[in-house]
Symmetry: C2
């Protein structure tokens, strides 16, 4: 059996994925303490002003700024110190004309006060505060709602929660938060030659290291990786293992067996497993052009090629997209690095194909310089020596030294 | 009790940390399947050539290139197809003059063969291969040792393992790998006003959200975070809880209670807990200037200020450094983004202080533009709206629009 590839563009492939895998998997409530890196399933609209009331931003003395308008070192104003307030004081105190209140950072601003004299500038003598400088209205005061206003959408559905976002959620009264379920991703490696006994590799055997890499990428993207081991180059065995994986997982990723050699059974099996079967197989990108995508019912399956560079590119371009769509990820916090190409780069590529180069990056006099690492797509040492990769557009034959390009770190 | 700060530079602080926390915690063997993001505790020196022998890089026919030197469409050369080889074939086959062997990608190159004709260019008739083009010596062959050479140091002690590194390790025969132990980081929040009942916050109470943020940062950096909850502004209670944390953790991070107000007991307690006690307290950076660092015996303690921006900067500048040193991290894979400042920026800062600004980043016509987010250091919404932060050098008063600066994403 042989298939010939019908190559489609990366953009077309991603449009197909976005159409077929358009909905996040489902929503779950998680405790805020375990929400780090989860994807928000709701817009967060503040039900309160933060802070809820005017608070002091400094340790010092809250006062009526009108009382000290004329204060100067030569004619200080004396204020009676009425008492003390802390952030744990449950109600605002009240001051009258000629009074001040000792406050610490985050305390409720007393009623009638409108400014704070910092403790460093305060002189206290016999229970009285001597003020030698005018204090401006609002000075060292954080106004109610100046951090977040009631009704404001402060975090968007589809964003990955960071540490600082969790802090904010607690201020808005969230003990739990709605997030999208993490997709379970089954990873299956295909090949008679593969072994998982890495320490004792017999001749004719190859360690199944690619599955570890793909599982790492899945975890990095926010999925739950399930390494389902090795299947032989046998259509029945592949069918059985992929079929089982489809029952317990949300997505299946196969590695290898997806080329057009005589032992490449994966495409045929996926077409037998159910409708619609293989949706595309063949991408206009090098390496990675043998990547494929299938659906069996509502479950997506990504076919990755087996040579290391192609495995990586196929994952980044297709599998990562599927997982992110299932995660409901809209706002991603990862941005590519701008790097300067350190040498002239020739881009041998078939007509209409994008070209991916793995690149080493060094910081030289404050600039990020990048060197391409050339070599056959089976060489694992290349992505190991690389900091990340650059995707060059179709039709580009040469990139002159000094060009700025977008580099995606490969972690 | 009051302390006055003796401010030191960030560089000086980091030199002190590097001197006092100079050794990683210890080494452990982990299975390669759970080594993602762990820090290597050994240089990885390859004991083998990768690949161990010459292999084919294409599906096709392995042949002696001298046999087909004169081949052309008008005078094709006929070769006898001797048999087939797969990556799982345990030994190399042998071909003689006038013979070819069908091979799939990753197969052992047969003895006497020195090139591969790709399957796409092959014409097979009656058991014979018709070759119409010359094949260059070495074409579509991956030479032994061309990926990694025996004796080569391919991964360095102190680097964080990525997916692709795991694949390579399996090729080098690693089933387990030596990594540094992850430090256990106890996080303690100090304050009478704090509560962990985020959903029902009484007046005078503030949610202890900063601990969740700091725990997230610890996990991001590779530590194991242990949220030890809230202690009141009471020296005895602080002493007891910090003392217990020192028994079960490798590092302790306190949040708040580190300023110079009358309820700031942390510094005094740390000096009572043991020698040498507080090493520095006060950094020439804003926000974050109230950050402190202590050692009790061999255990480091980081004092973070309680206002959000200062908490973040103190963590990034001091706590993160302590944790990374304990992790043995030397080669970090994270690089700052180069962004262009979108507006003129004024930098109000005390003389000799660095200034940290949180910044929003947008990609505009392929360029990363950054806008500073100004506001009091208590405003949690600022790091939430930001993509990351920039550290501006001491003495810099203005940064003109269009300047390129290093931005650290805050995840």
């Amino acid at each position: 059996m042989r298939w010939s590839f019908k190559y489609i563009s990366v953009e077309e492939a991603q449009r197909i994925i976005d159409k077929l895998v358009s909905q996040p998997l489902g929503v779950e409530d998680v405790d805020i303490s375990s929400a780090y890196r989860r994807v928000l399933a709701e817009d967060v609209v503040s039900r309160v002003d933060v802070p809820t009331h005017d608070v002091t931003h400094f340790d010092g003395y809250a006062l009526r700024t009108s009382d000290v308008r004329g204060a100067s070192p030569s004619s200080p104003v004396k204020l009676r110190i009425k008492g003390r307030a802390y952030p744990s004081t449950p109600r605002p105190d009240v001051i009258d004309a000629g009074e001040a209140l000792y406050v610490t950072t985050g305390s409720w601003l007393p009623v009638n006060a409108d400014g704070v004299l910092p403790v460093e500038a305060a002189i206290v003598r016999e229970g009285y505060l001597e003020v030698k400088y005018a204090v401006k209205p609002g000075e060292h005061v954080i106004k109610a709602g100046s951090d977040v206003k009631r009704g404001e959408v402060i975090l968007r559905r589809g964003s990955r929660l960071r540490g600082q976002d969790l802090t904010l959620l607690t201020l808005l009264g969230y003990g739990k938060v709605k997030v999208y379920r993490r997709p379970k991703v089954g990873v299956i490696s295909v090949g008679d030659e593969l072994t998982e006994d890495y320490e004792h590799v017999e001749p004719g055997k190859t360690p199944n290291g690619h599955a570890l890499m793909i599982c790492s990428f899945v975890e990095r993207d926010g999925g739950v990786s399930m390494n389902m081991g090795i299947v032989r180059d046998d259509p029945e065995e592949i069918k059985e293992v992929v079929g089982k994986a489809l029952e317990s997982c949300d997505v299946v990723v196969t590695i290898s067996g997806a080329s057009k050699g005589e032992k490449d059974y994966v495409e045929g099996v996926l077409n037998e497993l159910g409708e619609p079967g293989v949706v595309f197989h063949g991408l206009k990108i090098k390496p990675g052009r043998q990547t494929g995508f299938a659906m069996v019912g509502s479950k997506p399956i990504v076919m990755l090629p087996g040579l290391c560079h192609s495995t990586i590119v196929g994952y980044q371009v297709v599998a990562s997209r599927v997982i992110r769509n299932m995660l409901g990820l809209v706002v991603d916090h990862e941005k590519p690095l701008k790097v300067k190409v350190a040498v002239d780069v020739k881009l041998p590529q078939p007509k209409g194909f994008k070209r991916v180069l793995f690149m080493r990056v060094e910081s030289v006099e404050g600039e990020l310089l990048a060197w391409p690492l050339m070599g056959e797509s089976a060489l694992v040492s290349i992505p190991v020596r690389a900091y990340g990769y650059v995707v060059f557009s179709e039709g580009l034959e040469e990139v002159p030294k000094g060009s700025l390009v977008d580099l995606y770190p490969l972690m």
